[in-house]
Symmetry: C2
Subunit: 244 residues, 2 copies
Protein backbone atom coordinates (compact mmCIF):
# COMPACT_ATOMS: atom_id res chain seq x y z
CA UNK A 1 0.00 0.00 0.00
CA UNK A 2 1.32 3.45 -0.91
CA UNK A 3 0.35 6.79 0.57
CA UNK A 4 -0.79 10.09 -0.87
CA UNK A 5 -0.33 13.45 0.79
CA UNK A 6 -1.40 16.93 -0.28
CA UNK A 7 0.51 20.14 0.36
CA UNK A 8 -1.60 23.28 -0.04
CA UNK A 9 1.26 25.77 -0.25
CA UNK A 10 4.76 25.71 -1.75
CA UNK A 11 5.95 27.39 1.48
CA UNK A 12 4.97 24.26 3.44
CA UNK A 13 6.55 21.75 1.04
CA UNK A 14 9.62 21.17 3.25
CA UNK A 15 7.23 19.60 5.81
CA UNK A 16 6.16 16.99 3.25
CA UNK A 17 9.39 16.06 1.48
CA UNK A 18 9.91 12.37 1.29
CA UNK A 19 12.69 10.54 -0.44
CA UNK A 20 11.59 8.78 -3.61
CA UNK A 21 8.03 10.17 -3.55
CA UNK A 22 6.49 11.26 -6.84
CA UNK A 23 5.55 14.94 -6.63
CA UNK A 24 2.64 16.17 -8.75
CA UNK A 25 2.75 19.96 -9.11
CA UNK A 26 -0.54 21.59 -10.00
CA UNK A 27 -1.57 25.15 -10.82
CA UNK A 28 -4.91 24.59 -12.53
CA UNK A 29 -5.55 28.25 -13.37
CA UNK A 30 -3.43 28.33 -15.48
CA UNK A 31 0.30 27.55 -15.40
CA UNK A 32 0.30 23.77 -15.31
CA UNK A 33 -2.69 23.59 -17.68
CA UNK A 34 -0.67 25.74 -20.09
CA UNK A 35 2.45 23.59 -19.68
CA UNK A 36 0.48 20.39 -20.32
CA UNK A 37 -1.07 21.98 -23.41
CA UNK A 38 2.26 23.22 -24.74
CA UNK A 39 4.04 19.87 -24.33
CA UNK A 40 1.00 18.08 -25.76
CA UNK A 41 1.10 20.29 -28.85
CA UNK A 42 4.72 19.49 -29.51
CA UNK A 43 6.79 22.00 -27.55
CA UNK A 44 10.06 20.18 -26.92
CA UNK A 45 10.98 21.61 -23.53
CA UNK A 46 9.76 24.27 -21.12
CA UNK A 47 12.28 25.78 -18.75
CA UNK A 48 10.56 27.02 -15.57
CA UNK A 49 12.22 29.99 -13.89
CA UNK A 50 10.96 31.60 -10.72
CA UNK A 51 12.06 35.20 -11.27
CA UNK A 52 11.32 37.72 -14.01
CA UNK A 53 14.97 38.82 -14.08
CA UNK A 54 16.01 35.33 -15.03
CA UNK A 55 13.23 35.24 -17.63
CA UNK A 56 14.56 38.50 -19.11
CA UNK A 57 18.08 37.04 -19.39
CA UNK A 58 16.71 34.13 -21.41
CA UNK A 59 14.74 36.57 -23.59
CA UNK A 60 17.92 38.57 -24.25
CA UNK A 61 19.61 35.33 -25.33
CA UNK A 62 16.91 34.80 -27.95
CA UNK A 63 14.67 32.27 -26.21
CA UNK A 64 10.91 32.31 -26.52
CA UNK A 65 9.71 33.33 -23.06
CA UNK A 66 6.32 33.16 -21.32
CA UNK A 67 5.97 35.46 -18.32
CA UNK A 68 2.88 36.11 -16.28
CA UNK A 69 2.28 37.92 -13.00
CA UNK A 70 -1.11 38.34 -11.34
CA UNK A 71 -2.83 36.78 -14.37
CA UNK A 72 -1.35 39.31 -16.80
CA UNK A 73 1.20 38.68 -19.56
CA UNK A 74 4.26 40.77 -18.80
CA UNK A 75 5.49 43.37 -21.30
CA UNK A 76 8.34 42.37 -23.54
CA UNK A 77 7.66 38.62 -23.41
CA UNK A 78 6.21 36.27 -26.01
CA UNK A 79 3.43 34.57 -24.08
CA UNK A 80 1.41 34.85 -20.90
CA UNK A 81 -0.30 32.05 -19.04
CA UNK A 82 -3.11 31.09 -21.42
CA UNK A 83 -3.17 27.49 -22.69
CA UNK A 84 -4.53 28.81 -25.98
CA UNK A 85 -1.18 30.44 -26.73
CA UNK A 86 0.19 26.94 -27.24
CA UNK A 87 -2.66 25.62 -29.34
CA UNK A 88 -2.96 28.46 -31.80
CA UNK A 89 0.67 28.68 -32.92
CA UNK A 90 2.99 26.07 -34.35
CA UNK A 91 5.58 25.71 -31.62
CA UNK A 92 6.56 22.10 -32.21
CA UNK A 93 10.17 21.33 -31.38
CA UNK A 94 10.66 24.68 -29.64
CA UNK A 95 12.06 25.41 -26.19
CA UNK A 96 10.08 27.94 -24.16
CA UNK A 97 11.11 29.54 -20.89
CA UNK A 98 8.22 30.14 -18.48
CA UNK A 99 7.81 32.21 -15.32
CA UNK A 100 4.45 32.57 -13.56
CA UNK A 101 3.08 33.95 -10.29
CA UNK A 102 2.60 30.59 -8.60
CA UNK A 103 3.18 27.58 -10.83
CA UNK A 104 6.87 28.04 -11.49
CA UNK A 105 7.47 28.87 -7.81
CA UNK A 106 5.89 25.55 -6.91
CA UNK A 107 8.13 23.69 -9.39
CA UNK A 108 11.10 25.52 -7.85
CA UNK A 109 10.04 24.39 -4.36
CA UNK A 110 9.83 20.77 -5.56
CA UNK A 111 12.89 20.70 -7.73
CA UNK A 112 15.06 18.44 -5.54
CA UNK A 113 12.42 15.69 -5.70
CA UNK A 114 13.27 12.52 -7.60
CA UNK A 115 10.24 12.68 -9.93
CA UNK A 116 8.11 15.76 -10.60
CA UNK A 117 5.02 15.47 -12.79
CA UNK A 118 3.03 18.43 -14.08
CA UNK A 119 -0.64 17.86 -13.39
CA UNK A 120 -3.87 19.49 -14.50
CA UNK A 121 -7.44 18.36 -15.07
CA UNK A 122 -6.46 18.00 -18.73
CA UNK A 123 -4.25 15.00 -17.98
CA UNK A 124 -5.52 13.85 -14.59
CA UNK A 125 -6.38 10.27 -15.59
CA UNK A 126 -3.09 9.87 -17.44
CA UNK A 127 -1.28 11.01 -14.27
CA UNK A 128 -3.28 8.61 -12.09
CA UNK A 129 -2.68 5.70 -14.45
CA UNK A 130 1.06 6.36 -14.65
CA UNK A 131 1.33 6.62 -10.85
CA UNK A 132 -0.58 3.37 -10.38
CA UNK A 133 2.21 1.54 -12.22
CA UNK A 134 4.98 2.86 -9.96
CA UNK A 135 4.45 1.57 -6.40
CA UNK A 136 5.73 4.82 -4.93
CA UNK A 137 4.25 7.36 -2.52
CA UNK A 138 2.75 10.55 -3.92
CA UNK A 139 2.73 14.17 -2.80
CA UNK A 140 0.43 16.60 -4.59
CA UNK A 141 1.92 20.08 -4.38
CA UNK A 142 -0.72 22.76 -4.95
CA UNK A 143 0.74 26.00 -6.26
CA UNK A 144 -1.98 28.01 -4.51
CA UNK A 145 -1.98 31.78 -4.70
CA UNK A 146 1.14 33.45 -3.34
CA UNK A 147 1.58 30.61 -0.87
CA UNK A 148 -2.06 30.66 0.24
CA UNK A 149 -4.50 27.78 -0.25
CA UNK A 150 -6.68 27.94 -3.32
CA UNK A 151 -9.78 26.02 -4.32
CA UNK A 152 -8.96 24.97 -7.86
CA UNK A 153 -5.66 23.25 -7.06
CA UNK A 154 -7.20 21.59 -4.01
CA UNK A 155 -10.07 20.04 -5.95
CA UNK A 156 -7.52 18.66 -8.41
CA UNK A 157 -5.67 17.13 -5.43
CA UNK A 158 -8.96 15.70 -4.20
CA UNK A 159 -9.83 14.23 -7.58
CA UNK A 160 -6.41 12.62 -7.96
CA UNK A 161 -6.47 11.41 -4.35
CA UNK A 162 -9.85 9.75 -4.83
CA UNK A 163 -8.70 8.03 -8.03
CA UNK A 164 -5.63 6.62 -6.27
CA UNK A 165 -7.42 5.60 -3.07
CA UNK A 166 -10.31 4.02 -4.98
CA UNK A 167 -7.78 1.86 -6.84
CA UNK A 168 -7.16 0.08 -3.53
CA UNK A 169 -3.40 0.60 -3.92
CA UNK A 170 -3.24 3.86 -1.95
CA UNK A 171 -4.39 5.09 1.41
CA UNK A 172 -3.92 8.35 3.28
CA UNK A 173 -3.62 9.62 6.81
CA UNK A 174 -3.29 13.16 5.49
CA UNK A 175 -6.09 15.52 6.49
CA UNK A 176 -5.39 17.80 3.51
CA UNK A 177 -6.01 14.91 1.13
CA UNK A 178 -9.21 13.90 2.93
CA UNK A 179 -10.48 17.50 2.86
CA UNK A 180 -9.54 17.90 -0.80
CA UNK A 181 -11.52 14.74 -1.58
CA UNK A 182 -14.61 16.17 0.13
CA UNK A 183 -14.19 19.42 -1.77
CA UNK A 184 -13.89 17.60 -5.08
CA UNK A 185 -17.00 15.54 -4.31
CA UNK A 186 -18.86 18.77 -3.66
CA UNK A 187 -17.50 20.37 -6.85
CA UNK A 188 -17.67 17.34 -9.07
CA UNK A 189 -20.95 17.92 -10.90
CA UNK A 190 -20.01 21.41 -11.96
CA UNK A 191 -16.39 22.45 -11.41
CA UNK A 192 -17.00 25.74 -13.18
CA UNK A 193 -19.98 26.60 -10.97
CA UNK A 194 -18.13 25.46 -7.84
CA UNK A 195 -15.39 27.99 -8.47
CA UNK A 196 -17.90 30.82 -9.02
CA UNK A 197 -16.85 32.51 -5.78
CA UNK A 198 -13.22 31.44 -5.74
CA UNK A 199 -10.71 34.23 -5.50
CA UNK A 200 -8.72 33.39 -8.61
CA UNK A 201 -11.69 32.76 -10.85
CA UNK A 202 -12.82 36.24 -9.93
CA UNK A 203 -9.42 37.67 -10.75
CA UNK A 204 -9.61 36.00 -14.16
CA UNK A 205 -13.23 37.01 -14.66
CA UNK A 206 -12.14 40.64 -14.48
CA UNK A 207 -9.80 39.83 -17.35
CA UNK A 208 -12.54 38.00 -19.30
CA UNK A 209 -10.75 34.68 -19.43
CA UNK A 210 -13.86 32.50 -19.18
CA UNK A 211 -12.76 30.34 -22.11
CA UNK A 212 -9.41 29.65 -20.47
CA UNK A 213 -11.14 28.63 -17.25
CA UNK A 214 -13.59 26.29 -18.98
CA UNK A 215 -10.72 24.66 -20.88
CA UNK A 216 -8.57 24.26 -17.74
CA UNK A 217 -11.45 22.56 -15.89
CA UNK A 218 -12.11 19.97 -18.61
CA UNK A 219 -10.88 16.57 -17.47
CA UNK A 220 -8.94 14.16 -19.64
CA UNK A 221 -8.14 16.07 -22.78
CA UNK A 222 -4.79 14.35 -23.25
CA UNK A 223 -2.52 11.47 -22.28
CA UNK A 224 0.49 13.79 -22.18
CA UNK A 225 2.41 14.05 -18.90
CA UNK A 226 5.11 16.71 -18.66
CA UNK A 227 7.92 15.68 -16.32
CA UNK A 228 10.88 17.58 -14.92
CA UNK A 229 14.27 16.49 -16.28
CA UNK A 230 17.61 18.33 -16.42
CA UNK A 231 16.11 21.69 -15.49
CA UNK A 232 13.26 21.52 -17.98
CA UNK A 233 9.80 20.04 -18.47
CA UNK A 234 9.60 17.45 -21.20
CA UNK A 235 7.20 14.82 -22.47
CA UNK A 236 7.13 11.63 -20.38
CA UNK A 237 8.28 9.63 -23.43
CA UNK A 238 11.66 11.45 -23.28
CA UNK A 239 11.95 10.94 -19.52
CA UNK A 240 11.24 7.22 -19.82
CA UNK A 241 14.05 6.72 -22.31
CA UNK A 242 16.47 7.86 -19.58
CA UNK A 243 14.53 6.38 -16.61
CA UNK A 244 13.06 3.14 -17.90
CA UNK B 1 -18.82 45.09 5.45
CA UNK B 2 -15.94 43.31 7.17
CA UNK B 3 -13.91 40.39 5.91
CA UNK B 4 -12.98 37.01 7.31
CA UNK B 5 -9.91 35.04 6.31
CA UNK B 6 -8.69 31.61 7.43
CA UNK B 7 -5.07 30.60 7.88
CA UNK B 8 -4.56 26.82 7.97
CA UNK B 9 -1.04 26.85 9.42
CA UNK B 10 0.80 29.02 11.96
CA UNK B 11 3.76 28.98 9.54
CA UNK B 12 1.67 30.89 6.99
CA UNK B 13 0.30 33.48 9.42
CA UNK B 14 2.72 36.23 8.28
CA UNK B 15 0.90 36.14 4.89
CA UNK B 16 -2.38 37.03 6.60
CA UNK B 17 -1.37 39.60 9.19
CA UNK B 18 -3.55 42.66 9.06
CA UNK B 19 -3.45 45.63 11.34
CA UNK B 20 -6.37 45.80 13.73
CA UNK B 21 -7.85 42.43 12.69
CA UNK B 22 -9.25 40.18 15.41
CA UNK B 23 -7.37 36.88 15.39
CA UNK B 24 -9.23 33.77 16.58
CA UNK B 25 -6.77 31.00 17.45
CA UNK B 26 -8.23 27.50 17.41
CA UNK B 27 -6.83 24.08 18.30
CA UNK B 28 -10.02 22.07 18.75
CA UNK B 29 -8.29 18.83 19.80
CA UNK B 30 -7.51 19.89 22.46
CA UNK B 31 -5.48 22.94 23.51
CA UNK B 32 -7.95 25.76 22.94
CA UNK B 33 -10.86 23.61 24.15
CA UNK B 34 -8.88 23.04 27.35
CA UNK B 35 -8.05 26.74 27.71
CA UNK B 36 -11.71 27.74 27.26
CA UNK B 37 -12.72 25.15 29.85
CA UNK B 38 -10.08 26.27 32.33
CA UNK B 39 -10.94 29.95 32.10
CA UNK B 40 -14.66 29.11 32.22
CA UNK B 41 -14.13 27.14 35.42
CA UNK B 42 -12.42 30.05 37.12
CA UNK B 43 -8.72 29.79 36.28
CA UNK B 44 -7.50 33.38 36.52
CA UNK B 45 -4.83 33.35 33.84
CA UNK B 46 -3.13 30.90 31.51
CA UNK B 47 0.36 31.73 30.32
CA UNK B 48 1.04 30.10 26.94
CA UNK B 49 4.67 29.22 26.31
CA UNK B 50 5.91 27.61 23.11
CA UNK B 51 8.85 25.60 24.44
CA UNK B 52 9.13 22.91 27.09
CA UNK B 53 12.31 24.48 28.49
CA UNK B 54 10.39 27.65 29.26
CA UNK B 55 7.61 25.53 30.79
CA UNK B 56 10.18 23.81 33.02
CA UNK B 57 11.49 27.17 34.24
CA UNK B 58 8.00 28.17 35.32
CA UNK B 59 7.57 24.79 37.01
CA UNK B 60 10.82 25.32 38.94
CA UNK B 61 9.47 28.70 40.07
CA UNK B 62 6.45 26.96 41.57
CA UNK B 63 3.84 27.57 38.90
CA UNK B 64 1.21 25.01 37.98
CA UNK B 65 2.20 23.92 34.48
CA UNK B 66 0.36 22.01 31.74
CA UNK B 67 2.63 20.46 29.12
CA UNK B 68 1.63 18.20 26.26
CA UNK B 69 3.50 16.90 23.25
CA UNK B 70 2.02 14.56 20.62
CA UNK B 71 -1.15 14.20 22.69
CA UNK B 72 0.71 12.99 25.78
CA UNK B 73 1.11 14.79 29.12
CA UNK B 74 4.82 15.37 29.67
CA UNK B 75 6.54 13.93 32.74
CA UNK B 76 7.08 16.27 35.65
CA UNK B 77 4.20 18.60 34.83
CA UNK B 78 0.82 19.05 36.49
CA UNK B 79 -1.56 18.72 33.56
CA UNK B 80 -1.71 17.57 29.95
CA UNK B 81 -4.12 18.76 27.31
CA UNK B 82 -7.42 17.32 28.48
CA UNK B 83 -10.25 19.77 29.19
CA UNK B 84 -11.37 17.47 32.01
CA UNK B 85 -8.26 18.40 34.01
CA UNK B 86 -9.83 21.81 34.48
CA UNK B 87 -13.32 20.65 35.33
CA UNK B 88 -12.45 18.05 37.91
CA UNK B 89 -10.22 20.13 40.18
CA UNK B 90 -10.85 23.40 41.94
CA UNK B 91 -8.42 25.72 40.19
CA UNK B 92 -10.33 28.96 40.59
CA UNK B 93 -8.13 32.03 40.88
CA UNK B 94 -5.01 30.09 39.83
CA UNK B 95 -2.47 30.92 37.16
CA UNK B 96 -1.46 28.00 34.94
CA UNK B 97 1.36 27.91 32.43
CA UNK B 98 0.57 25.88 29.30
CA UNK B 99 2.70 24.47 26.49
CA UNK B 100 1.24 22.22 23.79
CA UNK B 101 2.29 20.71 20.45
CA UNK B 102 0.31 23.11 18.27
CA UNK B 103 -2.02 25.42 20.17
CA UNK B 104 0.56 27.44 22.05
CA UNK B 105 2.72 27.68 18.92
CA UNK B 106 -0.25 29.23 17.13
CA UNK B 107 -0.77 31.75 19.94
CA UNK B 108 2.95 32.56 19.71
CA UNK B 109 2.64 33.14 15.95
CA UNK B 110 -0.29 35.52 16.52
CA UNK B 111 1.02 37.34 19.55
CA UNK B 112 1.70 40.72 17.91
CA UNK B 113 -1.95 40.98 16.85
CA UNK B 114 -4.08 43.64 18.50
CA UNK B 115 -6.78 41.22 19.71
CA UNK B 116 -6.41 37.45 20.05
CA UNK B 117 -9.40 35.34 21.05
CA UNK B 118 -9.22 31.67 21.99
CA UNK B 119 -11.86 29.75 20.08
CA UNK B 120 -13.33 26.28 20.27
CA UNK B 121 -16.66 24.67 19.49
CA UNK B 122 -17.44 25.12 23.19
CA UNK B 123 -17.69 28.90 22.83
CA UNK B 124 -18.20 29.36 19.09
CA UNK B 125 -21.47 31.30 19.28
CA UNK B 126 -20.10 33.52 22.03
CA UNK B 127 -17.10 34.28 19.81
CA UNK B 128 -19.33 35.03 16.80
CA UNK B 129 -21.61 37.28 18.82
CA UNK B 130 -18.71 39.23 20.32
CA UNK B 131 -17.10 39.70 16.90
CA UNK B 132 -20.39 40.92 15.40
CA UNK B 133 -20.31 43.86 17.80
CA UNK B 134 -16.82 45.00 16.76
CA UNK B 135 -16.86 46.06 13.08
CA UNK B 136 -13.38 44.69 12.54
CA UNK B 137 -11.92 42.15 10.14
CA UNK B 138 -11.28 38.63 11.38
CA UNK B 139 -8.55 36.07 10.77
CA UNK B 140 -9.08 32.52 12.02
CA UNK B 141 -5.70 30.95 12.76
CA UNK B 142 -5.91 27.16 12.78
CA UNK B 143 -3.21 25.56 14.91
CA UNK B 144 -3.18 22.50 12.63
CA UNK B 145 -0.75 19.68 13.29
CA UNK B 146 2.93 20.68 13.24
CA UNK B 147 2.15 23.39 10.72
CA UNK B 148 0.09 21.11 8.50
CA UNK B 149 -3.63 21.56 7.78
CA UNK B 150 -5.99 19.59 9.97
CA UNK B 151 -9.69 18.84 9.64
CA UNK B 152 -10.98 19.71 13.10
CA UNK B 153 -9.63 23.25 13.20
CA UNK B 154 -10.76 23.86 9.63
CA UNK B 155 -14.36 22.87 10.31
CA UNK B 156 -14.34 25.26 13.27
CA UNK B 157 -13.14 27.99 10.88
CA UNK B 158 -15.90 27.02 8.47
CA UNK B 159 -18.57 27.11 11.17
CA UNK B 160 -17.44 30.51 12.42
CA UNK B 161 -17.10 31.83 8.87
CA UNK B 162 -20.65 30.78 8.01
CA UNK B 163 -22.05 32.41 11.16
CA UNK B 164 -20.32 35.70 10.33
CA UNK B 165 -21.15 35.67 6.62
CA UNK B 166 -24.78 34.69 7.25
CA UNK B 167 -25.09 37.72 9.54
CA UNK B 168 -24.78 39.88 6.42
CA UNK B 169 -22.02 41.91 8.07
CA UNK B 170 -19.11 39.85 6.70
CA UNK B 171 -17.97 38.62 3.36
CA UNK B 172 -14.90 36.77 2.18
CA UNK B 173 -12.71 36.48 -0.86
CA UNK B 174 -10.57 33.92 0.93
CA UNK B 175 -10.58 30.44 -0.62
CA UNK B 176 -9.58 28.83 2.69
CA UNK B 177 -12.68 30.26 4.35
CA UNK B 178 -14.92 29.12 1.49
CA UNK B 179 -13.42 25.61 1.60
CA UNK B 180 -13.73 25.47 5.38
CA UNK B 181 -17.41 26.39 5.07
CA UNK B 182 -17.99 23.52 2.63
CA UNK B 183 -16.18 21.13 4.97
CA UNK B 184 -18.27 22.25 7.93
CA UNK B 185 -21.48 21.84 5.93
CA UNK B 186 -20.38 18.31 5.12
CA UNK B 187 -19.45 17.60 8.76
CA UNK B 188 -22.29 19.45 10.40
CA UNK B 189 -24.73 16.61 11.12
CA UNK B 190 -22.12 14.51 12.86
CA UNK B 191 -18.83 16.20 13.68
CA UNK B 192 -17.62 13.14 15.54
CA UNK B 193 -18.35 10.83 12.61
CA UNK B 194 -16.85 13.30 10.14
CA UNK B 195 -13.53 13.14 11.94
CA UNK B 196 -13.54 9.34 11.98
CA UNK B 197 -10.65 9.20 9.51
CA UNK B 198 -8.89 12.40 10.54
CA UNK B 199 -5.27 12.03 11.50
CA UNK B 200 -5.50 13.56 14.95
CA UNK B 201 -8.66 11.77 15.99
CA UNK B 202 -6.81 8.58 15.21
CA UNK B 203 -3.83 9.65 17.28
CA UNK B 204 -6.18 10.32 20.19
CA UNK B 205 -8.13 7.10 19.61
CA UNK B 206 -4.94 5.18 20.25
CA UNK B 207 -4.83 6.92 23.61
CA UNK B 208 -8.52 6.23 24.29
CA UNK B 209 -9.55 9.84 24.60
CA UNK B 210 -13.00 9.45 23.06
CA UNK B 211 -14.66 11.41 25.88
CA UNK B 212 -12.31 14.32 25.36
CA UNK B 213 -13.09 14.35 21.65
CA UNK B 214 -16.86 14.26 22.16
CA UNK B 215 -16.62 17.10 24.66
CA UNK B 216 -14.41 19.22 22.38
CA UNK B 217 -16.88 18.82 19.50
CA UNK B 218 -19.92 19.95 21.48
CA UNK B 219 -20.96 23.42 20.38
CA UNK B 220 -21.96 26.20 22.73
CA UNK B 221 -21.18 24.94 26.19
CA UNK B 222 -20.21 28.34 27.49
CA UNK B 223 -20.25 32.10 26.95
CA UNK B 224 -16.66 32.39 28.14
CA UNK B 225 -14.11 33.89 25.73
CA UNK B 226 -10.45 33.74 26.72
CA UNK B 227 -8.46 36.65 25.32
CA UNK B 228 -4.74 37.37 25.22
CA UNK B 229 -3.61 40.25 27.46
CA UNK B 230 -0.20 41.06 28.93
CA UNK B 231 1.31 37.71 28.00
CA UNK B 232 -1.55 35.64 29.37
CA UNK B 233 -5.01 34.39 28.51
CA UNK B 234 -7.75 35.83 30.66
CA UNK B 235 -11.53 36.02 30.73
CA UNK B 236 -12.99 38.60 28.33
CA UNK B 237 -14.53 40.45 31.29
CA UNK B 238 -11.00 41.35 32.49
CA UNK B 239 -9.91 42.40 29.01
CA UNK B 240 -12.94 44.65 28.56
CA UNK B 241 -12.19 46.56 31.75
CA UNK B 242 -8.90 47.67 30.11
CA UNK B 243 -10.22 47.83 26.52
CA UNK B 244 -13.78 49.08 26.82
Amino acid sequence: MNTIQTCYSPALFPLFKEENAIVVVVDVLRATSAICTAIHHGVDKMIPVAGLDEARKYKAEGYLVAAERNAIKQDGFDFGNSPYHYIDEDLSGKTIVISTTNGTQAIEAAKDSSTILIGSFLNISAIANWILQQERNVIVLCAGWKNKFNLEDSIFAGALGLKLIQSGKFNTVCDSTIAAGYLYERANNDLYGFLEYSSHRNRLKDLQLENDIRYCLTEDQMETIPVYMDGGLVHMSKFEVVNP
